[in-house]
């Protein structure tokens, strides 16, 4: 009797006997072989017996079904064939060997690390399932000491500069002001500040020489400015 061995990254998951007229493969639980992976379509493929022939058919899956590295829509399976579905492989064992002429075709490279995409409706489900979508933090600086154009700066951009250079978010004035004194990055996890141009940067009175995460209320001293960081809710 023909059977397939389901493998994930070289590790055997389970062996399935092909004793039915038709064996379906897919992500949904009503399949005979359920592969719970987002790269696999709900009803991905099926293996049917047609007389003594074992036929694999792709059921219009998003990421495709591959036999020995080639994308197929419908093909006969032989002993030793390797089916690739998503990131799982199925090794076929049957009585029928591939005849010599057709053997060894297609080593051409569909590998496991090829890019795939999740079907849009599945994607909504994943996002809905784990939705504690964090609001992006929004914060900025209040100027406590030093001469700047504004008293308060809200930093919306991903990277903002403090310096005299044009384009700085917090623009310094004066002949001796540095072109670039520090950079502030905004990330989903929060804000952080990095010194630039060899200027001394203090956060809460301590000199820092590498990136430093900013918390609500932190005091930043740089290039003659004294700034207080704030985070909005």
């Amino acid at each position: 009797m023909a059977k397939v061995l389901l493998k994930y990254k070289e590790a055997a998951v389970k062996e399935i006997a092909l004793d039915k007229e038709s064996t379906t493969i897919g992500r949904k639980p009503d399949n005979d072989i359920v592969i719970d992976n987002q790269a696999v379509s709900g009803h991905h493929a099926s293996i049917t017996m047609e007389g003594d022939r074992l036929v694999l058919e792709d059921l219009g899956s998003l990421n495709g079904t591959f036999v020995n590295g080639q994308k197929i829509s419908k093909t006969e399976l032989f002993n030793g064939d390797v089916i690739l579905i998503g990131v799982h492989t199925l090794n076929v064992t049957s009585e029928k060997n591939r005849s010599q002429e057709t053997k060894g075709f297609a080593v051409r490279g569909r590998s496991m690390d090829e890019t795939m995409v999740i079907a849009p409706d599945d994607q909504k489900k994943i996002i809905a399932a784990a939705d504690k979508n964090l609001p992006e933090p929004l914060g900025g600086f209040v100027v406590l000491e030093g001469s700047t154009q504004q008293k308060e700066y809200e930093l919306k951009e991903r990277v903002s500069a403090i310096g005299k250079e044009d384009g700085s978010a917090i623009k310094l004035k004066g002949l001796f002001a540095p072109k670039l004194a520090a950079m502030v990055n905004r990330r989903k996890e929060g804000y952080f500040i990095t010194p630039a141009g060899g200027k001394e940067l203090k956060v809460n009175g301590k000199i820092i020489d590498r990136r430093c995460d900013l918390k609500d209320g932190d005091l930043v001293e740089v290039a003659g400015l004294k700034l207080q960081f704030y985070l909005k809710e």
Binding site: Q38, T115, V117, I118, A119, E157
Partner: protein, 264 residues
Amino acid sequence: MNLTACGKTDQGLVRANNEDNFYLDEKMGLLVVADGMGGHASGEKASGLAVSLIRDYFQGPQKIIGSPDPSFSEATNRLGCAIRLANQAVYEVAQSSPQFKGMGTTIVAVLLTGRKLSIAHIGDSRAYLIRAGSIDQLTDDHSMVQEQVKRNLITQEEADRSEMKNILTKALGIQPEIEADLDELTVMDGDILLLCTDGFSNMVTDDDALDMISSAQNGSAACESMIDAANRNGGKDNITVVIGYVWKEKWYSALMKFMEFFRR
């Protein structure tokens, strides 16, 4: 602000074909990188189509179709619109023939307008900013692992090592409508932009990329050494890097050109 750009793409060492595409327009201030996917040659088709549609949009009247997002500038909305239209067209081609079914592409594009840089992306191709000796990623990958990081289910280190890195949550051309993630940034004289596909970012660390860009004589040498590095580390996927140098015309540059003329 002016933009000088340079780009290079390489098949890598493992893949049988190159599904990456890129486009540069220094005058327009536009850089685009795309990484196609799909069986047979359809990945190439998807990325090539997306890139040329965005190019055509900016060479045309650049009309904004649909309602613009008021929180972004007009230029950023134009970039978002170009991607939206490219998505529609790629999707239609994908539906038109079984050979192209399921094809799609990532996209990352930046547009420099004066001091403002508009950034748009879908998928896991990235944009980086290199400023004052540090490198910062400007885009968040639309990949399953990155979604998990965002929700604190796994750490960034686990994500970098994950085998599932190749699974995207968003791609251009696989659904009838899609919105790119948009962002804006104020640029400064001396900023360097790097756009790349995952064939580069998965093979080379950000810090190594920074070293290579800052030590290179010029853009093409930097691209060259970055592609070599990605291939040295395995070259598992197609590699594309695009570097854009942002610079300001100096008041004395006309004078310099004048002097240069006489020196010859």
